[in-house]
Amino acid sequence: MSGIERVIQTIGETVVVGAQHGGGHLATVEPGPTWMALAPFLPLVGVVICLICALVPRLRTSKLPAWGTVASLAVAFGLILATWLSLDGRTLNVHAWEWINLSWGDGPGRALIANFAFHIDSLTVLWMLFVTGLGALIALYAVEYMEHDVGLGYCRFFAGFSLFVFSMSCLVMADNLLLMYLGWEGVGFCSYLLIGYFYKKPSAVAAAKKAFIVNRIGDLGLALGIMLIFVQFGTLEYGELFANERLLHYKDLALAGDFAQIPFNVQLIALLLMVGAFGKSAQFPLYVWLPDAMEGPTPVSALIHAATMVTAGVFLIARMFPIFLVSEHALPTVAWIGTITALLAATIGMAQFDIKRIMAYSTVSQLGYMFAGLGVLTSVGAAFHVFTHAFFKATLFLCCGAVMHGFAGQLDLRKVSGLRSQKGWMIVTLAMLIACLNLSGFPLTGGFFSKDMILAEAFVTPGFRVIGWILLLTAGLTAYYTFRVFFRVFVGPVDYEPGDEHHGEPGSFHPHPPGWAVNLVLAILGVGSLLVAGVYFVGGEHGWVGSMIHDSSAHYQADGTHAGTLFGQDPHTIMYYVSAAIGLAGIAIAWWLHYAGRTEAATCRADRLAFTGSRVARWARDKWYVDEFYDFLFRRPLWLLGQVFYFIDRWFVDGLVNVFGILPRLTGWAVRPSQSGLLHGYALGTIGGTAVLLLIVWLVT
């Protein structure tokens, strides 16, 4: 009985996790009001609604799952807004229930505590704002976008969608690493579920599988990192971890540049966590799953694979910034990997024709920017870029989705042109334009400011100037491929052919422009993308995002105060002009190659360039053969190894067993003739044996 009483006792108990080891600039963790813990669980209401709809035949054909999801996400967004307003720079902790709670004696490191509890600080709120906000908007978009699947598929989609938001909330709001890991794997699973939404398509199933497995590789790194944190610091809870005296001591050492005194194992943690971040945020070499993930429905791509889930890696590093600071090589590695990814993905993106894939590579590339930003110690820049990117990239994807929806699955930029001039596509075009300007870093857009922050820091951080140059080059490439899409698809002559979802004569096809929900969402997002630049001008030194970061664990006190100058000027000011120039140059090249003088969808001036037919261009189009390389290096050898093992299992391991089985049989076969079957033979044996035995007994005694 006492067990059950204890169970009841523990439910709903709010535990105060105070940071006993004060010190540092981190605010003490205070218990928060219980209603704040409702936000992550609200999406589960959506899941339940979807489940009920799936089970009740009468509801199955309604749009209830969608509206339930939209409503629950909207309420969650409202709650997050309320949390933000009441947060006031504090760090709160809300306990829901005990999850894994194991202790072996007293003292630090003698208990493994990972509760369903939420750590709410400004970093959390920053992420949650766009997770729930964009979630609600994109769900609204999907109400219309997915309506041809009303029925079980609809329920499945929105259940996955809601579950994703729940998992993402857990990831962001967790107060310990294990709950974050739950969210981390949860979003991976939801991504799997939603990429594989069109489960009859083998490519979708394969893409889903690939996404999950590649993510799992990263997850292993993350899991090992979490274990190492536990072994090193004896806790998994953020509050205790960031207040850990050893960690604070190491941090002081690291800021003084004295890494030699920090144990290798502590430095290793960041490297392991980094692997997890690379997997989830699609960084080189684990980026390969993200372009394939475009097999999922477009709202999924917009929410999961552009705006929210893929920024989890950035979040992890931002959240664990103290851990990364004490590692000598982790942040430089992050910076370099981010830079390489940014450049690599941009080059591939330039050569693609599938607009969704271009956006996917663009996402990978922009994530590279964010990582580079983290690597050059501007966590504000990275977070700011995450924030702006979430808006404009979601817009881009949703616009692509609208095109895809309107043209029966057509995604090839060579086959659709001049949307602007067609009826009903104005909002889409405008939203697309705003998002493209953001992405290409057009002056005074949100993307412009956030990218500049990263670029400027890269130039002034000692030892990272090369990164700055590469990122600058990539900015130009980004502007080019972004407007390549815009100039090809949205402006220019009206010309189109339907995609493969259109059955019948190509001539009978009429594109159908988006409905009110899609237009509404695009309008909101477009305006949002336009206005997101404004957050740079409100709040503290680095804008609103800067003030949000300042109160969290991602804060780095040397942030933005690098004394360095660029060409003798303030780096930010210089960068405004330089990157604007580069961006405009990219747009101009795109205009020249893809818009000027184009008369039909399929051909343009770019085709006439010798370069586009070259081998390098083809390699870029074939994604530098990275997939094939992995296939050759890992998948095939492992598969072969599996076959070899199976062969060994059947013929050697089991064979050995069978030999043991055969030995008695052989012995039996050998002595079988001695069994004559005649009574006398047996009798003689018995009596002779008895005689011999007695003889032995007698001789012995």
Partner: protein, 115 residues
Amino acid sequence: MTALLAQSALPAAMGSGVLAHYLFVSVVMFAIGVIGFLTRRNLIIMFLCTELMFQAAGIALVAFSRYHLNMDGQTFVIFVLTVAAAEAAMALALVVLLFRRSESLDAEGWSEMRG
């Protein structure tokens, strides 16, 4: 005590040398039974030989009973007799069965259990 013993029908003690005589007879009879069992091919005679071995055992039992002035040996002979009777009944039934099958009592005619 002595008075009562004298009155009873219990014989006087027997020496171990005398016992050896009986045991020797018993052993020889047993050996003859064994040899008979091994050499004869007639099923019935073979069973008779087993009875002979029983008998040898019986003699030894009774001799020891006499030597120890204890009734257990004789009691045991009763059980030997019982077993012998039961065995005879079963064995003979089997012999009859076998004879019906092959019209022969030759033990060598039966070797179904050859390995």
